[in-house]
């Protein structure tokens, strides 16, 4: 399969992730959309690594993975603490830092 | 060797040391501040003597010069230099600061900060007069602005915030343009130097490099770049002088600031603007200054007459003195841009005279405001009988300010206007015409306060009914007497000052070569 197919796939996934972030108001869903975007990038990394026949791509996927893990951990902890204080989690409520 | 740095840094360190004093020991703070200022004055007088021993020009080797490398590859080094002109202005600044600190013993709130800012202000001005590297000049230019803002902003009158804000806006816009100019001149100079063969010439801001035509790395800038750079520099100095369209910060700043601060602002700080024109603009951009000089002269003459007419109908004491001060500075600028030896020596001499006379006038206005609490002219009247000594001192200062022949301002004004007349007859005549409105508003100022029938209502009459107004206290008299003596001395014997100034002016101006009329 040509490389561009995989790249289009990754672009598609990425876009879906972005739209998810923009549309949904539940932070968890936003989190998942971000994960989606990360994975889209992973896909393109792997595809390129495969087509360029170099392991660098996969290295990055590995790193992205760890970063994603760290991010999820902290993110979820944050959401839990916010939830404990406010009992409802809606992104639009959290606009104290308004200009 | 590091005499000049000592002169600049002493008040700075003194000011900082002052901050460690306990807040409530107000008397001790005042005394030490005055002591520091007097020691600084002695230091400067020592400098004068050192200079007079071997009266030198700006570039001769034995010229009192210090230079340490700071950013070598940017051509920026901590270099100070002094010649006759900066000597005179440095001495004026040191004297006025000592006197103004002496006159500030009535400031009650936050005395420690006040004194520290005054000393910082002094070191900023001294730095401006002594710096001979553009970068260092800019740093001291800003160091001078900050204490002025705080002095005006915290210890001023009711509208001090507005006045301070406007003051900073005007001055900083000007100085940022100057910064652009400074950066650009280094760059264009390098270009020109390389073009002129000196391939190894680097970016330099060292004044001696830029001005010294015989130096290996000297490039001559072409007309248009000179003009643009000159406009950048002129922006900062025109605001500080002030020239007419940029002067509207001055009346507010001078009337709202406490009297000793206004005396220092009017006496010394306004001279940095004119000094900037003289030391930087004219030597660095000879061709451009020629194309611009007629316009500046016209602005100066308009300023002279416009502010003199405005001063006629001012009701606020300090505002009136502010406008009169702009008018005098107009005469100084007219003399400077006449490019004649008499005009330029006269303008430097007039800088000193104006510094002395305005300082006395503002201090007296401050004493009056302290006694009666009002600055409106209509409230006053007929005080000469009650406060004779203050009336006499004010009369002498008023006479000096209106240019009475025989006192100090006459000598400077006469030379400046003579130079202006020789350069351009119509502007010379219009400039000299200021003598008439000047006499009119100065007399109206003096008569309004001291002669005539005492006012029946208003703050002054209340004081008169309550307990009368005290005459000059010993401290106040001691503060003014040195200046009054100088007013008489320079009036009778100006040769002392012109002897110092004239060779330096001739030296600074040889870059104009043919244009400079002896």
């Amino acid at each position: 399969m040509p490389l561009s197919a995989y790249l289009i796939m990754s672009a598609l996934l990425f876009t879906i992730g972005v739209i998810g972030v923009l549309i949904r108001r539940n932070p968890l869903i936003i989190f998942m959309s971000i994960e989606l975007m990360l994975n889209a990038v992973n896909l393109s990394f792997v595809a390129l690594s495969h087509f360029l026949d170099s392991a660098d791509g996969q290295m990055f996927v590995f790193l992205v993975l760890t970063v994603a893990a760290a991010e999820v951990v902290v993110g979820l902890a944050l959401i839990v603490s916010i939830y404990r204080r406010r009992h409802n989690i809606d992104v639009d409520e959290m606009n104290i830092m308004r200009g | 060797m590091f005499f000049l740095s000592a002169v600049i840094l002493f008040p700075l360190l003194g000011g900082l040391a002052l901050l460690f004093f306990p807040r409530e020991q107000v008397r001790a703070i005042r005394m030490t501040a005055l002591g520091l200022a007097l020691i600084e004055l002695l230091l400067v007088l020592g400098l004068d003597l050192a200079y007079l021993q071997n009266s030198v020009s700006l570039f001769s080797s034995s010229f009192l010069h210090e230079s340490w490398r700071w950013f070598p590859d940017l051509g920026i080094n901590y270099s100070l230099g002094m010649d006759g002109i900066s000597l005179v202005l440095v001495s004026l600044t040191a004297l006025l600061t000592a006197i103004c600190i002496g006159a500030s013993f009535r400031i009650e709130s936050k005395v420690k900060n006040y004194m520290a800012f005054m000393l910082l202000f002094e070191s900023g001005m001294l730095g401006v007069f002594l710096a001979s590297n553009l970068f260092l000049f800019y740093i001291f230019w800003e160091v001078m602005l900050i204490p002025a803002y705080f002095l005006l902003g915290t210890w001023g009158g009711e509208r001090r915030i507005y006045a301070a804000f406007k003051f900073v806006i005007y001055t900083s816009v000007g100085s940022f343009l100057m910064l652009v100019g400074i950066i650009a001149i280094g760059y264009y100079h390098q270009l020109a130097a390389v073009a002129a063969g000196g391939t190894s010439c680097g970016y330099t801001l060292e004044l001696s490099q830029l001005l010294n035509t015989s130096a290996t790395c000297h490039g001559v800038l072409d007309g248009t770049t000179q003009l643009w750079l000159l406009l950048a520099f002129a922006a900062a100095f025109a605001v500080k002088v002030p020239l007419i369209p940029f002067h509207s910060w001055l009346p507010d700043a001078y009337s709202e600031a406490p009297a000793p601060v206004t005396a220092l602002l009017a006496g010394a700080m306004s001279k940095t603007g004119v000094y900037g024109f003289l030391r930087l603009c004219i030597p660095l951009f000879p061709q451009a200054i020629h194309t611009l000089a007629p316009y500046i002269n016209v602005l100066a003459v308009v300023g002279i007459l416009y502010c003199a007419v405005l001063a006629l109908m001012q009701t606020d004491l300090k505002r009136l003195l502010g406008y009169s001060s702009i008018s005098h500075l107009g005469v100084i600028m007219l003399g400077l841009f006449s490019f004649t030896a008499q005009g330029m020596t006269g303008s430097v001499l007039q800088m000193v005279n104006h510094g002395i006379t305005t300082a006395v006038l503002f201090l007296i206005a401050g004493f009056l405001e302290y006694r009666t609490g009002t600055r409106r002219l209509q409230d006053y009247g007929g005080l000469a009988a009650r406060i004779p000594w203050l009336a006499v001192m004010m009369f002498i200062a008023a006479l000096s300010s209106l240019g009475l022949p025989g006192l100090n301002s006459f000598t400077g004004e006469f030379l400046s206007l003579l130079g202006a007349f020789r350069a351009n007859v119509t502007l010379g005549v219009l400039g000299t015409l200021v003598v008439v409105p000047a006499a009119w508003y100065m007399l109206r100022f003096f008569i309004g306060l001291m002669w005539g029938v005492p006012a029946t209502e208003g703050a002054v009459s209340a004081n008169l009914r309550k307990g009368g107004i005290r005459d000059l206290s010993l401290g106040e008299l001691g503060v003014i007497i040195p200046l009054i003596i100088l007013i008489f001395y320079i009036g009778v014997q100006p040769a002392v000052l012109t002897g110092i100034i004239d060779p330096s002016v001739a030296n600074t101006m040889q870059v104009l070569s043919s244009a400079f009329v002896k």
Binding site: M1, N26, L43, D53 | -
Partner: protein, 177 residues
């Protein structure tokens, strides 16, 4: 050859569907599950691209560890509350978001189609150690060698990152006393 294409298309459609599911489901748990499915399909993609190690890692860590954490949190946080009844403060947000998404896709695909066609393997530039190692067609041993030689430093950094993350979670997790 056709098997590749067919499998690719099937996988592509499936992944897209589940990805849309993630953002479409009202209920957070459903979107979490659909995300897990997306991850699995991606792992298959990786297999198709002969990135064995990455595929396994993907399933093990991503699908396994991270998504479990997700599910745990999602179920804990009042799954029944769905957001549709809440008034959307900035309605225009959705429309603009959608539009921008479409523009993004169009631009990317246009770029991909017209861009240089990268079909065959190309000699990797530079003299990174990984280039010598991939002579073994990208299998796990090569991956290990590359990881611990070329990318040792980033590897250590990530370990530091994870420690920090754990501390962060601890701090936020503490019950406000």
């Amino acid at each position: 050859m056709t098997f590749d294409i067919v499998s690719f298309i099937v996988l592509a459609v499936a992944t897209t569907a589940t990805a849309l599911g993630v953002i479409a489901f009202k209920n957070a748990v459903h979107s979490a599950l659909s995300l897990i499915l997306t991850l699995l399909f991606l792992a298959l993609f990786y297999l198709q691209l002969q990135a064995m190690f990455i595929a396994v890692v993907q399933i093990l860590i991503y699908a396994g560890a991270i998504m479990v954490l997700f599910l745990f949190v999602v179920t804990m946080l009042a799954p029944d509350q769905n957001e549709s009844d809440l008034k959307d403060a900035i309605p225009w947000q959705r429309i603009v978001g959608g539009l921008l998404g479409l523009v993004l896709v169009a631009a990317l695909s246009y770029e991909l189609f017209t861009g240089a066609q990268i079909t065959g393997p190309k000699a990797a530039a530079g003299n990174s150690l990984t280039q010598a190692v991939t002579a073994y067609h990208g299998d796990t041993q090569a991956f290990g060698m590359a990881l611990f030689h070329g990318f040792l430093f980033p590897f250590e950094v990530t370990s530091l990152l994870i420690i920090v993350a754990i501390l962060g979670a601890l701090v936020f997790g503490r019950r406000a006393n």
